[in-house]
Amino acid sequence: MRFEGTQDYVATDDLKVAVNAAVTLRRPLLVKGEPGTGKTVLAHEIARALNAPLIEWHVKSTTRAIQGLYEYDAVARLRDGQLGDPRVHDISNYIRKGKLWEAFTAPTLPVLLIDEIDKADIEFPNDLLQELDRMEFHVYETGETVKAHERPVVVITSNNEKELPDAFLRRCFFHYIAFPDRATMEKIVEVHFPGIQKILVGKALDLFYDVRDVPGLKKKPSTSELIDWLKLLLHEDMPMEVLAEKDIRKAIPPLHGALLKNEADVMLFEQLAFLARRQGS
């Protein structure tokens, strides 16, 4: 069982090693990287490559660790109690399983994605230490212990908004998805748009890396933005000449809305173009 990337996902060598190490030793894999470099997609692709079901747990600022284990629906039980429903006598009727429970007891080995763990409270990762380490937890309401018969593959993504505690990090393997270089980027484009004209891609990539190199950008466009942009270019059937204007300082790239997501950045480009025109005349 080795992860070699899939037909839809280009994995670099270091990523492959990190994933395979995490899968083999069944340690959680912590993935960081610029937004839009495919952190979440990675979990999907690992699940596909291993032919395993994917259980996704999207973390929000209000998510608490216990919600991943189970939730005790006290309100429903209270209501049933007042209505005289016989279900009320069995407390397990009101225990709702969380994603971790689901992953621990899944019939086939699953891949568990804990997405954007840094969004949650600072205590969140600490509260999951034991559960992720030993892959078991205790349900106080019913007194049972849920234990994974096989340790699931766990992928955790982080956008670096909060620092994760050391004790948590020690238990993980770490991979930082660096921004792809040009050769890798060409492969990625090829995977998403097979048979796209080489020249178009070449020119688009030139423009794209130029845009990324402009100093002072608030949000640099990333891989997913490039893919969207290419999709738009193809859809609009842009004539090749539009991309021919090499210098991004002279003209704002066509359909820039897909690349620049911040009005300050668009303004910056307009100013650059304006300055270039004035210097030219």
């Binding site: 060598d13 090693v17 083999t24 960081k32 908004e161 909060k162 990090l169 991979h175 608030k218």
Partner: protein, 391 residues
């Protein structure tokens, strides 16, 4: 095995522990990787490094520890003719192959390439003849000669430079780069959530407890959790701060996006009896500093941004200001402000190594109680930590 590597990592400030070390040995035992040094490097990196800011440091340690163990890449042995052809055809279009004729015939080039590979000893960087990296010779990797024959990439033992020697992650090192996003992330450390305001959220636990106690459904509400940190930002403008305008702009835009309770004022060199909010009207619309001290409660956190480089008289003597005749010395005002706001810090865009050479910097640092931090990501982080510490 690899104990000295662990030691070297710890010495370089990478928080590696025996737990990681055992994980590495376990992974090697489980044969996660093959025999190649690259894979070993990737594996060790995935296990030991947990922060992209430390990747570059790891690369350096790895390079020194395994120097000599993992040999320098020297091309050796015969290079089969068809291998050369295959590699070249892979990277050259027919037009470029035509263009190569400017350098001589196809066979000639291949002959030269072969000869140079045999002649060359050791790694080579730059220059215009040898095969290596960054040069202008037609052969090698990452060079400028458009007709160059690329060597390396796919084939491992011909690679001109090791992965860890490239130091790709240099600009992620947390003592260097500072972008808006990074600043925001660092400022987020200051977040302190508190429940204040209107009670508009169901407090389930209190409801259950209340209902159990009273015997009927007792609904309890509570206010939503919000970031309750309040920040007073004082920015030095003009003069010696001009080289740092971009940096301060970034800090400012990040801070305004991150905090709901943010008040900012400008000053020049040192804080005196008046500060201002609009630089164009700095002489017309001044806010008396006393008003600031009275208006904003002591739970605000005070943050100065400035280079702290001025004449020492500005801090120590009345009338020392370069702009006006100030009745009280700058130092008096600084002390007054740090007295009101217990959590205070000074961010200095000047590199820390130069602080000792400026008397005014030393003076201000003393007044701030040593809470002066460089305006780097790490410094910002430390400043945020210092600000959020309870006093």
């Amino acid at each position: 095995m690899f104990i000295s590597f662990l030691d070297a990592l710890r010495k370089a400030g990478i928080p590696a522990s025996p737990k990681e070390h055992l994980a590495l040995l376990e992974a090697l035992d489980a044969e996660v990787i093959g025999q190649s040094p690259e894979e070993f490097y990737y594996l060790a990196r995935a296990i030991y490094v947990k922060d992209e800011g430390l990747l570059d440091r790891f690369d350096q340690v790895f390079a020194t520890v395994f120097k000599g163990v993992i040999g320098e890449p020297t091309p050796e042995g015969e290079i089969p003719e068809d291998w050369l052809k295959a590699v070249t055809e892979k990277f050259l279009t027919p037009e470029e192959m035509e263009a190569i004729k400017s350098l001589g015939s196809w066979d000639e080039i291949m002959e030269t390439l072969k000869k140079r590979l045999e002649e060359q000893q050791g790694r080579h960087q730059g220059g215009n003849k040898w095969i290596g990296t960054g040069g202008t010779s037609p052969f090698g990797n990452g060079g400028y000669n458009p007709e160059g024959v690329r060597i390396g990439g796919e084939s491992r033992h011909k690679r001109a430079i090791k992965v860890w020697e490239k130091r790709e992650f240099r600009n992620l090192d947390n003592s260097i780069e500072l972008g808006t996003r990074n600043i925001k992330v660092a400022l987020r450390r200051l977040r302190r959530f508190a429940r204040t305001g209107a009670a508009d959220e169901l407090d389930l636990d209190a409801t259950i407890a209340g209902t159990a106690r009273k015997g009927y459904l007792d609904i309890n509400m509570r206010p939503e959790r919000r970031n309750a940190v309040k920040l007073l930002l004082f920015l030095d403008v003009g003069g010696s701060m001009d080289p740092f305008i971009k940096l301060c702009e970034e800090l400012f835009s990040a801070a305004t996006a991150e905090f709901k309770h943010l008040e900012f004022f400008y000053f020049h060199n040192c804080v005196y009896e008046g500060v201002w909010k609009d630089n164009r009207r700095r002489f017309q619309e001044r806010t008396p500093t006393w008003d600031v001290l009275h208006k904003f409660g002591h739970d605000y956190k005070l943050l100065f941004v400035g280079d702290a480089q001025m004449s020492p008289y500005e801090i120590t003597h009345p009338g020392g200001s370069v702009e006006h005749n100030n009745p009280e010395a700058g130092g008096v005002w600084l002390q007054r402000m740090t007295g009101v706001y217990a959590s205070a810090a000074w961010l200095n865009p000047v590199p820390e190594a130069q602080w000792g050479y400026s008397q005014s910097t030393r003076l201000i640092r003393e007044i701030m109680g040593d809470r002066m931090f460089p305006l780097t990501l790490q410094g910002l982080d430390e400043a945020a930590r210092s600000l959020s510490r309870k006093r």
